[in-house]
Point group: none
Chain length 133, copies 4
Amino acid sequence: MWLPIDPRSPKPVYQQVVDAVKEAVAKGMLEPGDRMPAVRELASQLTINHNTVARAYQELERDRVIEVLRGRGTFIATSRPCPDRDARVRAVAARIRELLIEAHHLQMNEEELLELFQVTLREWRQERRQAQA
Amino acid sequence: MWLPIDPRSPKPVYQQVVDAVKEAVAKGMLEPGDRMPAVRELASQLTINHNTVARAYQELERDRVIEVLRGRGTFIATSRPCPDRDARVRAVAARIRELLIEAHHLQMNEEELLELFQVTLREWRQERRQAQA
Amino acid sequence: MWLPIDPRSPKPVYQQVVDAVKEAVAKGMLEPGDRMPAVRELASQLTINHNTVARAYQELERDRVIEVLRGRGTFIATSRPCPDRDARVRAVAARIRELLIEAHHLQMNEEELLELFQVTLREWRQERRQAQA
Amino acid sequence: MWLPIDPRSPKPVYQQVVDAVKEAVAKGMLEPGDRMPAVRELASQLTINHNTVARAYQELERDRVIEVLRGRGTFIATSRPCPDRDARVRAVAARIRELLIEAHHLQMNEEELLELFQVTLREWRQERRQAQA
DNA sequence: GTGGTCTAGACCACC
DNA sequence: GTGGTCTAGACCACC
C-alpha cells in the first residue's frame, strides 16, 4: 500500500497517514472489509517509524474508520454513524468559517468562494469516478 | 480589546491571536486605519506574555493584515491584493477537499455539505451585519 | 522639497531621508551649494518629526553630503574625497558579496547577475539624464 | 559548526545566523542533504541562546534554505525555484541601485564600480573553489 | 511612548 | 533524540 507521505511537511507524519487513509476510503479506493497492512509492514513500505503508524491506526480506530480484530488483523470498518457525529459536524462548520475568513483576506467574495467550492466538488467527483474504475 | 484565547488549545497562543485578528477584520469589527493596542497592553489584557503578542503582530504584518509604524504604533492595513494570491487560493481549494473527505466519513453527502456551507454562510453574514451595526 | 518617505517601511524614517538626499545628489537633482530646507521646514513638508530630520542631517553631515554653516543654513557640500573612503569602498564590496549570495539562492548565475547589473546601470543613467534635463 | 557571529553588530544575531548559513550554502560549504546541528547544539557552539537559533532556523525554513524533518533534525534543502522569484529579483535590482548611489558619493564612477564588481566576483569564485576543495 | 531582540529556563509534541 | 512554544525580565532603537 502506498500513501503520499512527506516528512518535510509541517503536518505530523501520523496525521498524514490518518488523512491519507480517510481520503482513500472517501474515494472508494478502500472499501469496508478491506484488510489494512500490519503496522510494521506499512511502516516499512512508507519508510517511517512503526510507532508512527501505530499512532495513526489508533486515531483511525477512534474515528471508526478502521476496526482492529485482535489476532486477526485490521480492516476498513463498515461505516456506521459515529456517536459524536454532532460534534464533528460542528467542527466542519467551524472549518467553513475559517474558509470565509481566509477568503476575505484574499479579497475573494462569497460568490467566488461558493464557485471555488463547486469547482472543487466537480473535480472531486471526477477523481472518485476514476479511482473506482 | 478582547480576543478569545484558550491556553489549553493545541493551537499555539500566538496563532490564536493571529486568527482572531483576521476574523475581526473579516467581520468588519476592525477596519483599515484602526489602531491596535500596544504589544504590552494587549498582552496584559489577554494575560499572556508580550513576546507572544509581538510574534503574532510580526506574523500579521508579514500577512499584510496590520502595518507597523516604527515608534508610533500598529494599525489595521488598507487591504491590498497580495502577490502570492494564486498560491493561497490553491490552499483554500485544498481545504475544501479536506471538508469533502470529512463529510464522507460523517455520512454527509455532497448536498448536505453544500447546505451546511450555505447555512454557515448565512450565519456569517448575520454576524458581520451585527458587528458593523 | 519632496522626498519619498514611507512610514510603513521597515527602514527607519531618518535613514529614508538620508538615502533620498543621497540619491537626489547622485542624480544631479541637488547640486553642490544648493540650500537645504531648515530642519523644521522639511519636517513639516514631509509630515514627520523634526527630531527625525535633525538626525538625518547629522548623518548626512558626517558623510560629508551636506555642510552646516552655523547661522546661515545647510547646503549640499562641494564634494571632496572623504577621509574614510577606503572603509566605505570595502563596505561596497561587502554589499556586492551579499548580492552574490542572494543571486545564488535565486538560482541566478554570475552571468545573469552581471547582466542585471548592466541593465540596472543603463536605467540609472537614463533617470539621471531625465532628472538633469 | 562555526559561524562568524558578532554580538556587537547592529544586525540582529538571528539574522547573522541566517545570512551566514545562506553564504555557506552559496559557497558550497554546505550541500543539499547535509545535516545541520541541532538547535541547542549550535546555540552552545556559538554561545548564544537556543531561542535565537530556533528563530534563525524558522527563517531559513521559510526561505526554503533548510528543511525540518519533524523529530528527526534539520537539513540543507535541495534548492528549488521559489514562487516569488520575480519579487526577489526586483529586490536585487533595487540593491544594485543603492550601490550606484553609494559609488557616486565615493566619487567612484560607473566604470570603477563595474571593476570593483568584477574583482569581488573573482575573489568570490576563488573562495568557492577553496571551500569545495 | 512604540515594537524588536535576547537570555534563561520550562514544558510540550513528535519520531 | 528533535524542533516549537511560552513566560519573565532585560535592554535597545526609533519616534
